[in-house]
């Protein structure tokens, strides 16, 4: 995966402690100015990978190369300490030092390199103004709110010349509203400064909103990578699909559709047939697999199916969620979940007809 032109590349990285192997052979290549996100559930190895890149964990094997020079190489015994790698990092806990002022936190990178306060001041002020905290420079850092602390952490990460900003779930400790606001701010900041970023999160929305490229991880391995749209539109495996909110994943027999390239016919239990996209088609005539679709893509009509088709079902449960209602619908042996506007007639036991546009229905092979 690594090519000579990559700004930062991680090759066959493995990290283990004791008998646990947290990362089991991961390759990542990042171009200059790119924002790459490691996405996955907790325990998938994403944070360990990031900390290994930072130098805070020592991998058991593999290589990490920055601008052509290895900062870690297990085979050659190279292990550059974190402070010499030229990265900066934003932590989940913010890690703002409570015994320093805001300006001292942001200027720490200058202080440890022996750069005087006066000399560092313009850069510190500039970083603080970028996160709209100029007025807080001389406040003790312990008196800030969570959102402000996160801004200080961000200012600290960009104040000193850095090659890559590493971000470890930086928004996960904020409440929902603040998280969305900070997400926008972060994306704006990166647009202005153009820094290279490696971002770790378990929140798919965050990953979609911020990334140039998303790497989905599972159990210490990379499951799929691509642009946000690619990943959202065409998850390759059941794991990625369900992690990205395709709640309905149903076993099916997949048959390629003659004459329609990239389309397939999926036969579910109970002889229910759906048409589905098959972007990762492998040319085989018929295989066992699955189809997946999101609850919002299910269209529901009250009553029995009309002449245009549709699948007959019975509402087994309906939950009012506010803007949406969640309906569980049983059709023979299968049960699906649908999100639609709340409608009066669709109470439990009601007869409905449902369908999914082939464009929104996806063949999953693994």
């Amino acid at each position: 995966m690594s090519s000579g032109g990559d700004f930062l590349s991680v090759e066959r990285l493995e990290v283990g402690y004791g008998t646990v192997r947290a990362v089991r052979g991961v390759d990542v290549a990042v171009s200059k100015g790119e924002h790459v996100t490691l996405l996955g559930p907790s325990g998938c190895g994403k944070t360990t990978t990031l900390r290994a890149i930072a130098g805070l964990e020592t991998p058991s094997s593999g290589r990490i190369v920055v601008e052509g020079a290895p900062v870690f190489d297990a085979a050659r015994g190279v292990n550059t300490p974190p402070e010499k790698r030229g990265f900066s990092m934003v932590f989940q806990s913010y890690a703002i030092w409570p015994h320093m002022t805001v300006a001292e936190n942001v200027g720490f990178g200058f202080r440890v390199r022996g750069i005087g306060r006066a000399q560092a001041r313009p850069a510190v002020e500039r970083a603080l103004s970028l996160v709209a905290l100029s007025d807080f420079a001389d406040r003790p850092a312990s008196q800030l709110s969570g959102g402000q602390q996160q801004r200080v952490a961000l200012a600290r990460a960009i104040a000193y010349d850095t090659k890559v900003v590493l971000l470890d779930e930086p928004l996960s400790n904020l409440d929902a509203q603040l998280r969305i606001a900070m997400r926008t701010e972060l994306s704006e900041l990166r647009r202005r400064l153009g820094f290279t970023a490696i971002y770790v999160t378990h929140d798919q929305e965050e990953a979609f909103a911020l990334s140039d490229r998303i790497i989905v991880m599972r159990a210490g391995l990379i499951e799929q990578q691509g642009t946000p749209i690619e990943i959202h539109h065409a998850p390759r495996t059941r794991f990625v699909a369900s992690f990205l909110g395709m709640t309905n994943i149903l076993d099916a027999e997949i048959r390629a559709l003659a004459g329609a390239k990239g389309m397939a016919e999926a036969r579910l239990a109970g002889d229910i047939v759906l048409r589905a996209r098959d972007p990762h088609a492998n040319g085989a005539a018929a295989t066992a697999g699955a189809v997946g679709f999101r609850p919002v893509d299910v269209r529901i009509e009250a009553g029995v199916p009309g002449p245009q088709g549709g699948i007959a079902g019975i509402v087994t449960r309906s939950l009012f969620l506010g803007d949406l209602a969640q309906y569980h619908i049983r059709s023979g042996p299968i049960e699906i979940c649908a999100h639609d506007r709340p409608r009066a007639g669709l109470t439990e036991g009601a007869q409905v007809s449902w369908h999914v546009d082939p464009e929104n229905c996806l063949v999953l092979r693994e």
Partner: protein
């Protein structure tokens, strides 16, 4: 910044140079492991070897002689068990009464009960020997004069030793059991009440079993100290020919010629017993789960008790009077009165004894200087080592972690006399390390003895410190040493300052190991006090004791004021 024309770039950090590095962490881990091994394992090994050798070579005779001294063994066990039962019983009761019941004055009493921690048992024992010795004791004199009875109390006895040592060690169980009672989830008790238990039954069936680990732990701590106790049996036992292991070791070494092997055999016997107990405690407590302290802030319910609460408060005041007020008042009185008498007409008060101690007694300044130097150095070294070892235990995945964690706790099971014996044996025999007879051997003994406190303080300070605070410093360009200096150390300072103060005060009063290791040039305050006691110079002794107490309480006051300021800031 990576973008062209990056606005914030000041200097370019350049390409990261690939290089081999031996992490500073590795050096520190290996160094600390080696140091702890030398400090802790070496004296234990020396005691074992010393006990098995005589001038003629390997021999079992010292050990057999010791096992034959059934009287002293019996005395030691009796004093150890009695002291432990009294200290844990009274300490636990006071903890329950002051932490959980609506006792009048519980706030003030909770501050007063731990005070004996800061007063060495040597002084309490001396004060009580003046009050309760069979013939000249002030209490006996008073009663003889008023009622014409012969001696009423005799504290120069096993009972007297247990009484004074028990009072002196009450604060340990009081603090440990009190913390367990306060940290307990009150819903555990409430659910017992809801399911039909009376208040007494809930206490007996739920609360007390849950504070069992703290009770057992403090009982073992007290027992280890009581088994190796020197000062109290020296003052209250030796005059009447009542010997326990600690005073027996002292007697054997002050014999001419000193019987080192036999003393070492006593040390080994003590070590085996205390180590066995600590092992048994761990085995017992590991079998069941007692995890009740969840880190949540609880406010345990106060138990409303009836009129008995006045009796319990009176008991607490009686304790404070017997362990603190009466002994200190006696010492101050004896330091000021011209000579000891109970006849008010003969009493005259002036500062002549202070004048003598400060201006004429030749050992005062030497002892004071040595004690201050040792107090500062031992507290600093133990805290620094504790922070370093705590760092390895809490922050690294090093294989040395559990070794350091366990070995640095060994001194808790090692009476300080035994430690001193081991050091004597090692350094008398290693002339290339000219440490014997210098202040260094005392420093080594103090640091080893207080190492467990330092490590507990260091590791608990670091556990409270999110590791990302340190990671952030590394990611902002700080080396490991700068991270420790600028982030770890300042943030763990409050905990370390508290530990430092306690260790300084304890060092200022240390006698059990000092009494074996001092020479005329390296005498310390407690030894000087003991010398005056042996010489029978009662008033000078009282004056020096008051000075020693004053230094302790000045240190405590400075610490409390500093912490108060820090909290306000």
């Amino acid at each position: 910044m990576s973008a062209p024309g990056a606005p914030l770039a000041i200097g370019s950090s350049g390409p990261a140079h690939a290089r081999r590095t031996i992490a500073a962490e590795t050096v520190v881990t290996v160094g600390l492991s080696a140091l702890v091994t030398v400090l802790v394992m070496l004296p234990m090994l020396a005691v074992a070897i010393g006990a098995a050798t005589e001038t003629g070579g390997l021999s079992l005779r010292p050990f057999l002689t010791v096992l034959g001294a059934l009287r002293v063994i019996g005395n030691t066990v009796w004093v150890g068990v009695g002291t432990t039962v009294l200290a844990v019983g009274l300490g636990g009761l006071l903890a329950l009464v002051l932490a959980r019941m609506n006792t009048p004055g519980r706030g003030l009493l909770s501050q007063l009960v731990p005070l004996p921690l800061y007063i060495t048992p040597l002084l309490t024992a001396i004060a009580w020997s003046w009050l309760g010795s069979p013939r000249g004791g002030l209490i006996n004199l008073l009663f003889r004069q008023m009622l014409g009875v012969e001696s009423l109390v005799n504290l120069q006895s096993a009972g007297g030793i247990i009484f004074v040592a028990g009072l002196a060690y009450v604060p340990l169980p009081f603090l440990l059991i009190g913390a367990a009672l306060r940290g307990m989830d009150p819903s555990l008790e409430e659910s017992a009440r809801v399911h039909g238990a009376s208040m007494a039954a809930a206490l007996r069936l739920v609360t007390l079993p849950l504070v069992l680990p703290a009770t057992l732990g403090s009982a073992i701590l007290v027992f280890v100290q009581a088994m190796g106790l020197f000062s109290v049996p020296a003052v209250l036992g030796m005059p009447g020919g009542f010997y326990v292991a600690g005073t027996e070791i002292y007697r054997l070494l002050n014999n001419f010629p000193p019987r080192v092997s036999q003393a070492a055999a006593w040390g080994l016997l003590l070590l085996v017993v205390t180590a066995g107990l600590v092992w048994a405690q761990n085995a017992l407590l590991n079998r069941r789960s007692y995890v009740t302290v969840t880190g949540k802030a609880f406010r345990p319910r106060t138990l409303e008790i009836g009129g008995i609460r006045y009796a319990l408060a009176a008991l607490a005041w009686l304790y404070v009077a017997a362990a603190v007020l009466l002994p200190v008042a006696t010492l101050v009185w004896a330091a000021l009165v011209n000579f000891i008498t109970i006849d008010p007409k003969l009493m005259a008060f002036d500062l002549q004894h202070f004048r003598y101690v400060l201006l004429e007694y030749p050992k005062t300044y030497l002892a004071m200087r040595n004690s201050l130097v040792l107090g500062v150095a031992a507290a600093t070294c133990a805290c620094a080592l504790g922070l370093g070892i705590g760092w390895v235990i809490v922050r690294t995945r090093s294989a040395a972690r559990s070794y350091l964690d366990q070995v640095s706790m060994f001194p808790l099971a090692m009476p300080s006399m035994v430690l001193a014996l081991g050091l004597l044996w090692v350094y008398v025999r290693t002339p290339m390390l000219p440490i014997y007879g210098t202040i260094w051997i005392l420093l080594i003994a103090y640091v080893t003895h207080y190492l467990p406190f330092g490590v507990r303080a260091g590791s608990s300070a670091l556990r409270q410190l999110h590791r990302e605070l340190e990671d952030a410093a590394r990611m902002t360009g700080a080396s490991w040493t700068k991270t420790i200096r600028w982030v770890t150390f300042p943030l763990s300072r409050p905990t370390l300052v508290a530990a430092w103060t306690l260790l300084f005060i304890l060092s200022m009063q240390e006698i059990s190991s000092s009494i074996l290791l001092y020479t005329s040039r390296t005498t310390v305050l407690s030894v000087a006090v003991f010398d005056l006691w042996e010489a029978g110079n009662v008033n000078a002794l009282a004056a020096l004791s008051v000075i020693q107490l004053a230094i302790t309480f000045v240190a405590l006051a400075i610490f409390i004021r500093a912490r108060h300021r820090e909290v306000l800031a």
